[in-house]
Amino acid sequence: MDYTKQIQEIASKLFAEGKIDVFVGYRLTGFDENQVPVLIRDQKDVSQLVFNDRSVFNLVNYLKYEHTRNKRVGLVVKGCDSRSLNLLLTESQVKRDKLYVVGIACEGVVDEQGNKMQNCMECVFPDAIVADEMLGTPHEVRKYKVNADIDELASKGLVDRRVYFEEVFENCIRCNACRHSCPLCYCAKCCIDQETATLYNGANTTSGAFHALMTWSLHLAGRCVDCRNCEKACPSHLPLHLLHKWNERVIYENFQEHLAGVHEGDRGAFYKYSMQDPDDFIM
């Protein structure tokens, strides 16, 4: 999967036609195979752009910052990224007419060791859903698969799970990198950071981490698109995908096979309801 040339051509065409102010893409770090997101504002820098299976980071995240706000933006999206973009469009965070989206029919990206990422192996929608232009050959429709880690953990006993997650919360240093790297966390001030003392858990304690991670994952339940930006950002390498994948599974199984951001205008699972939702757990 290498669309470097096509993307460079598209970007330079867009700049030449004056259609965009900023193009968000990837460039090489210059010293290893990894890539750095880059915001290009001038046609002469277009040659920096690359795209291959190391283009991991979800660029939709950059639509949150002042560098792209109120500007016409060109953007490269993979399948999972486009789902988050779709949600942002539905939630009125970005304007479609200010975006020029280059969609990729993604064949999966790799982690730093060069192994295919887990989420790519389980990916249901590898093709960009929102796009002005598509690169690559579209894939056939895949079936939703339950995450292997989830299966393994869910089969363990309550006490074991508690021990496992206690370790997770203890290792969290509450840098909030997960939140900042998430394309869907766009609130100006996160509810976890509201300094109203009775609700606030500002300290980096285990309990604060429990509170923060649980609240965060529940706010993303039914919205998380499994791009794994958070996991990549976490300096403690916490298995954050477990929380999201578990929620995704519960929602998929119980709420009419809902998957986040796969249809245009489709909101998160908590923004709608159905008469058929399970009721048996309520007395």
């Binding site: 950059y62 910052y65 290792n171 240093i173 840098c175 300290a203 950002a233 300096p235």
Partner: protein, 350 residues
């Protein structure tokens, strides 16, 4: 100080480690979720003191805990009482194994800020009660640039005991401070070592090979000088464009020392904590009433870069960066502070 170099082999080193762990409260790099971090260990099997991979987070949490209790208090109808917190677990006597050079150096840098004006007694106590055992790296990692900064890596005296791998499986153990000397006398079995009181030729050679393996090299004096002049450079806005303000760099940095104070209260009792904070945070400087001196990302980013390479230098005479590259390793978007600082400095405004 009269430097004695003990020479032993890999097995002797393992024995040395075992003896330390058996006799002292020991902290060493332990693998968890696929990376290393300093943890309390009770046997050598749990940890890997010689791991070539540096810990993701620095040893900073052992001296400046991620969240320390300042006090507990009760406030009810009978009045307000402030209570002592529990015994600080970090002030006990302890040994840290497998610390890298850069980490050890960061403690010297932090000493400056903690000992000016108001002296941080807890930090002092933690420092005094800790024996730092450092292993010199054999090879530089991708993001390392410790040799490019204002300290002599070869003759660094930040650690108490230095371990260097020599040729033919030999291991050299030296004390670098009085504390380290006393510690070696107590814990090292001289029978397992040959004593070399004179030459340290081999150490020099190892260091030269290590220094030659660096990919990143810069002239810190030039950087200091250039950065101090370009506060208003528009370049900052460009280079910070792909930063996502995630704070990871500050939390893993061995020298970042900003903190916040927060209260938590349930009914009548409460605890006040001091915990890490980062200047990349949008509301780090937000004042009540809405005024924010650093309201946009590039200004916060600039504060962090200049604090590392200009402000701290002006104030305390040292760079607040030890060149460990931990921030670049952990950065989710692979921004390297080395590259960015050099890029800014190279675009000097007239």
């Amino acid at each position: 100080m009269n430097v004695e170099i003990f020479v032993t082999d890999k097995a002797g080193l393992q024995k040395f480690y075992e003896a330390i762990i058996a006799r002292n409260e020991t902290w060493a790099p332990v693998e968890k979720f696929g990376k290393f971090d300093f943890k309390r260990v009770s046997s050598l099997g749990e940890c890997d003191p010689d791991s070539p991979i540096a810990t993701t987070r620095s040893a900073k949490p052992l001296f400046f805990p991620r969240s320390a209790k300042i006090m507990k208090y009760t406030a009810d109808s009978t009045g307000t009482r402030v209570k002592e917190t529990d015994e600080d677990p970090f002030t006990a006597k302890r040994v840290i194994l497998g610390m890298k050079h850069c980490d050890a150096r960061s403690l010297q840098v932090l000493d400056k800020v903690y000992n000016w004006d108001y002296i941080d007694n807890d930090y002092q106590k933690r420092r005094q009660n800790t024996v730092v055992i450092s292993t010199r790296c054999d090879k530089a990692e991708t993001h390392c640039f410790c040799t490019s900064l204002d300290y002599d890596v070869e003759n660094l005296d930040a650690m108490d005991v230095l371990i260097v791998n020599g040729t033919e499986g030999k291991v050299h153990i030296t004390a670098r401070t009085e504390k380290g000397d006393a510690f070696l006398k107590e814990n090292l079995d001289p029978a397992s070592c040959i004593l070399h009181p004179v030459s340290d030729e081999e150490l020099k050679k190892q260091y030269q090979a290590f220094a030659a393996s660096f990919r990143l090299k810069m002239n810190y004096k030039e950087i200091n000088e250039k950065l101090s002049k370009i506060f208003d450079s528009p370049e900052f806005e460009d280079v910070s464009a792909n930063c996502i303000s995630c704070n990871t760099c500050a939390f893993v940095c061995p020298t970042c020392h900003c903190f916040k104070i927060s209260d938590e209260r349930v009914k009548d009792t409460g605890v006040r904590y001091k915990s890490y904070d980062s200047c990349n945070n949008g509301y780090f400087t937000l004042m009540a009433g809405g005024h924010n001196p650093r309201p946009v990302k590039y200004r916060r980013w600039r504060q962090r870069a200049l604090h590392k390479f200009v402000y701290y230098k002006e104030r305390f005479g040292e760079n607040l960066c030890v060149g460990c590259g931990k921030c670049a390793v952990s950065c989710p978007v692979n921004i390297s502070i080395f590259e960015v600082v050099n890029q800014v400095a190279s675009n000097e405004v007239v």
